[in-house]
């Protein structure tokens, strides 16, 4: 029978481990962004599994290091060498971007945590003669990424549905990605046009990762006739 001392020892071992409280203090300011990096990585995996090598690029040169935006920003920003990835599938150019703002159909700008967009549109927006936010029509896939230690906040789901509603009809795939879940949000996302709930999307649930990756592969294949 376990005693209170056994429990105390187990808690101490967990909290004092190198990946315990010390690690939490280190990464707590970037926990959300680390999750975005993970989802971005899953997009790279999807592209790779389509037989294409994704190429990491930077806004101002070779991305060494590859920098993720700390806040929503503009695709043409040269404040830092922000990273993105480009790939070509069956003659169609695409880019994977993180934290980039798009112009909604209403004219309001919206940030997509991670997205896949048309490559030519991205390049046009970076052209010094035509610097601009990309139009919603250039967006192919968009995901909201949320790291949560507890249940997801319902308001996030409502806000993302509103965002997607303003992104026009070219958007083929959208989803809310989180390591967490929310039973009511799952129901809220049930209607056909609503984002896909990629809940419990974490390396601890590899089947959920496979669903996410396969959705991207399927949609890109369909779109490009690959």
């Amino acid at each position: 029978m376990a005693t209170l001392q056994d429990l105390e020892n187990a808690i101490d071992a967990l909290l004092n481990h190198p990946l315990g409280v010390g690690q939490y203090q280190l990464v707590q300011t970037v926990e959300e962004k680390a999750y975005e990096a993970y989802v971005f990585g899953l997009c790279l995996r999807a592209v790779r599994e389509l037989g294409v090598t994704p190429v990491l690029r930077g806004n101002t040169g070779t991305p060494t290091p590859f920098i993720f935006r700390g806040a929503p920003g503009q695709i043409h920003s040269r404040g830092r060498n922000y990273g993105y990835a480009e790939f070509t599938l069956n003659g169609y150019d695409f880019e994977i971007q993180a934290g980039v703002e798009f112009k909604g159909t209403s004219g309001m700008t919206h940030e997509l945590d991670v997205c896949i967009m048309r490559g030519p549109d991205a390049r046009t927006c970076r052209n010094p003669q035509s610097l601009d936010d990309p139009a919603s029509a250039s967006l192919i896939c968009g995901w909201e990424c949320k790291f949560y230690a507890g249940n997801l906040d319902k308001g996030l789901g409502r806000a993302f549905v509103g965002l997607i509603d303003d992104m026009g009809s070219n958007l083929r795939l959208s989803g809310m990605c989180s390591n967490s879940s929310h039973p009511q949000l799952r129901k809220y996302f049930q209607p056909d046009r609503r984002p896909y709930p990629h809940f419990r999307l974490t390396p601890l649930e590899t089947s959920n990762e496979d669903i996410f990756v396969n959705q991207i592969k399927g949609e890109l294949k369909k779109m490009t006739g690959a």
Partner: protein
């Protein structure tokens, strides 16, 4: 009969006091996850025997044992999942190639029609991933500008995973 010599309330109190002593912000985050409570379906029998009972949703607080499981899951998110996100991102970035522009000093003007010519390098090699801390629009600049995502050893992650599983077992009271 319980498998532990302590109650779920004693276990929760001990865990939360240890967390508060080590890191107040972490303790508050976990307390917040617990305090959300849960939805349950309540049934109200109808006076009319021919009618079905009325079912409605009610938000209630977690039991001490449920709260313990919420806390352990939250700790798993911070101590196991976070390092795994970085690890898996690093894996996927390593398998991508770096694109180095080949036009040298000639200025390349991006256009919709043509992709910038690049040579592919470093495919299969570890890439350095960084997160911007001081964003473009921040006025004050202090502390670090960026945060480097550093891969942690798989062995350490596995150790924490085992410790979480151990803690979960010690905070489970119901007999299976």
């Amino acid at each position: 009969m319980s498998r532990n010599s302590y109650t779920s309330q004693q276990a929760l109190d001990l865990l939360m006091s240890k967390l508060r002593a080590q890191n107040d912000l972490l303790a508050r985050n976990i307390q917040a996850a617990i305090d959300v409570g849960k939805d349950v379906s309540e049934e109200e029998p109808s006076n009319d025997r021919r009618k079905k009972p009325r079912v409605y949703r009610r938000t209630v607080r977690f039991s001490h044992e449920e709260a313990l499981q919420v806390a352990v899951s939250a700790l798993q998110a911070y101590f196991v999942e976070q390092p795994l996100f970085i690890d898996e991102a690093s894996d996927n970035f390593a398998k991508a190639a770096l694109g180095r522009p080949t036009h040298g000093l000639n200025k390349w003007v991006p256009s919709g029609d043509e992709r910038e010519p690049v040579v592919l390098e470093q495919q299969g090699n570890e890439k350095q991933l960084e997160i911007e801390l001081h964003t473009e629009t921040k006025v004050t600049r202090e502390g670090d500008e960026i945060f480097a995502l550093k891969r942690l050893s798989r062995q350490s992650i596995e150790e924490q995973r085992q410790q979480i599983n151990h803690l979960r077992a010690l905070t489970t009271f119901s007999e299976e």
